[in-house]
């Protein structure tokens, strides 16, 4: 991969009938970066992300993820990325250990590797007491941390997180971001959508999406300067108000 780019998107578009959900967006993400993909609800973040992770076909445009094409090499992309959806997606009726084993298994990890991963996660996340509990019985904060860990099981190059901290308390959010930093330190690229602007400040680079288009992009510091704002929240509000809604 030249220039260290792990995601390269050019004029990526998704149309549902007459509705342009994603309108010719272009951006690049470098390896090891934490990329904040911001936008209001319904701005098109999730749709854009689904095209990048290979579960939705783009209407037009180009995109390369982890060096593979989103039109023709989706299965190769899937081998190299992790994904944590905004809907909690582990099995409530399986225990923590069974969930880890299952997802490790379908990513093709060996029994020994899976055992090793469980051991590491138990120490890192202090799971001793809950490893054999049903996931459904855990508090939301735990579930989120767990699904993030599961998305990292197969050591992907890039992890896509879709509003990972929705509905969790500030302390858990903080812990969650520590996990994100920890993953980034190990060289994983993180692509995070969120509408918590304070979280966006933790990112190396952010893009702000309004009505399917990327209206601003750059490191948080640069954006604040450009829009003469004290924080990203103000930047976001300025952009959102300037936007002309479709309806």
């Amino acid at each position: 991969m030249k220039d260290n780019k792990v995601i390269a998107v050019k004029n990526l578009t998704k149309r549902f009938g007459d509705f342009l959900a994603v309108d010719a967006i272009s951006f690049e993400v470098k390896a090891g970066e934490i990329f904040g993909f911001l936008g209001a609800n319904g701005a098109g973040k999730t749709t854009a992300m689904k095209m990048l992770i290979g579960i939705s076909k783009p209407s037009s445009g180009e995109a390369m993820v982890a060096g593979f094409d989103v039109y023709t090499q989706t299965e190769l992309i899937k081998k190299n990325i992790g994904y944590m959806s905004q809907k909690f997606a582990l099995y409530d009726d399986l225990t923590v250990r069974e969930n880890i084993t299952f997802f490790g298994g379908i990513y093709g990890l060996s029994r020994a590797t899976i055992k090793e991963k469980v051991k590491v996660l138990v120490t890192e996340l202090k799971l001793e007491n809950i490893i054999d509990q049903l996931v459904g019985a855990l508090p939301l904060g735990w579930k989120q941390k767990l699904s993030f860990s599961v998305s990292l099981l197969h050591d992907p190059k890039i992890v896509f997180l879709d509003e990972p901290t929705g509905g969790v308390d500030p302390i858990t959010r903080r812990q969650f971001w520590e996990m994100i930093y920890h993953a980034a330190d190990k060289g994983t690229t993180l692509f995070v959508t969120t509408h918590y602007m304070d979280e966006a400040e933790y990112c190396d680079k952010v893009s702000i999406m309004v009505n399917g288009k990327i209206e601003a992009m750059g490191p948080p510091k640069l954006l604040k300067e450009r829009y003469g704002a004290g924080n990203l929240n103000e930047v976001f509000l300025k952009l959102a108000r300037g936007s002309k809604p479709n309806e």
Binding site: I55, K78, K79, I106
Partner: protein
């Protein structure tokens, strides 16, 4: 192969951990088999039989005695007039009214023919048919008795025509026991229903809770996923067949003349068809509720047109054509043939080929319509 193993392991864990689902899978079929097999019968018993004897002769009394001695008829007190009897029928107190006219005996002796008035409540047409057949049989027997008497006493009249009787010999179900006929059929129902509903709802359930999306972003192959998902239900279907066969033997004493191997071999193919249909349904539905409704729609048509309750031969031509696309039809045929007739592998070969073709077609369509990418 290893990936499929993980998936199958997970499915079985989930099935056996679901306390609401387990009884539905294993207890319900047993209850259904016990209840339906005893309840679903064409036999008409306890026919409420009313009569008006205007003749009041020894012959008319003898005829009524014939009915009284039959196990099928429940003789009511004689009605004074047809009007009263008819009022009784309107109220549902009587199913059949027989009116023996005046001069019944005299006409029979003098002219060797007479008539009887018969009114049958035919709201349930099938039951009315059976009732009429019973009555005709009794009257015929009675008639032969009379004819014999007259031919003996009066040799130059009437030949021996009246003496020809038909002795039916019933094969494969010699006692004409309805349970012998129904139990194998209901067994078919259970295996089909449970596997269709379970497989139809299973993948949709993962859509609903969002785990399917998580699976779709993994590199798992479509075929691996589908095999891993359906295999547990294939096993459960064969398990249900086993439970049903044991019950049929122990409780209903249904014979199993053919080989178990043939039956299992066919069922193994048949369940593939059902699972394919289930998968197909779950591909085109978003919620378990939708899947359930569509599965029911197919089930009802399949069951009613399977020859399970009504013979296919008596359906109109167009309906008979439709039944050739009904997988349950073949399963019903095979189960009855193997269990009751002792049909072997070569006897059910046509059904095997058709079912196999069906399995390939349905599963092909299901796999094609399953999309990891939207």
């Amino acid at each position: 192969m290893k990936t499929i193993g993980y998936l199958i392991q997970k499915e079985f864990k989930q099935i056996f951990r679901n306390k609401g689902m387990l009884p539905i899978i294993f207890i319900l079929p047993i209850v259904q088999l016990l209840i339906l097999s005893n309840a679903a019968t064409y036999e008409v018993k306890d026919i409420k039989f009313g009569y008006i004897d205007v003749d009041r002769s020894s012959t008319s009394r003898a005829l009524i005695e014939k009915f009284r001695s039959s196990a099928y008829f429940n003789l009511l007190a004689p009605y004074s007039s047809y009007k009263v009897a008819y009022a009784g029928m309107l109220q549902g107190k009587v199913n059949v009214i027989m009116e023996i006219p005046n001069n019944f005996e005299r006409q029979l002796v003098n002219q060797e023919k007479t008539s009887l008035g018969l009114t049958v409540d035919a709201i349930d047409g099938a039951a009315a048919g059976v009732e009429t057949a019973y009555i005709q049989q009794i009257v015929q027997e009675f008639n032969q008795g009379i004819a014999l008497e007259t031919s003996v006493s009066n040799k130059n009249r009437s030949g021996f025509a009246g003496l020809i009787t038909i002795i039916p010999s019933y094969w494969y179900n010699s006692t004409l026991d309805y349970k012998t006929f129904m139990v194998p059929g209901i067994l078919v129902l259970l295996v089909t229903m449970i596997t269709l509903f379970l497989s139809g709802m299973n993948i949709v359930r993962e859509k609903e809770i969002g785990t399917l999306e998580q699976i779709n972003v993994t590199p798992i192959k479509k075929s691996q996923f589908i095999i891993g998902k359906l295999f547990p239900f294939w096993i459960i279907g064969l398990g249900l067949l086993t439970i049903g066969l044991v019950l049929a033997k122990l409780i209903f004493d249904i014979p199993l003349l053919g080989s178990l191997g043939t039956l299992y071999f066919y069922t193994a193919i048949y369940i593939l068809v059902v699972l394919g249909i289930g998968l197909f349904i779950s591909n085109f539905t978003e919620t378990q509720q939708q899947a359930m409704f569509i599965a029911w729609f197919f089930m009802v048509i399949f069951i009613l047109m399977s020859g399970l309750f009504t013979p296919i031969e008596s359906m109109p031509q167009w309906a008979q054509v439709i039944t050739t696309f009904n997988p349950i039809r073949y399963f019903v045929e095979v189960v009855r043939m193997v269990m009751l007739k002792g049909a072997g592998f070569s006897d059910i070969l046509p059904q095997i080929w058709k079912t196999l073709a069906y399995a390939v077609l349905v599963n092909g369509l299901a796999v094609l319509s399953y999309k990891k990418v939207n």
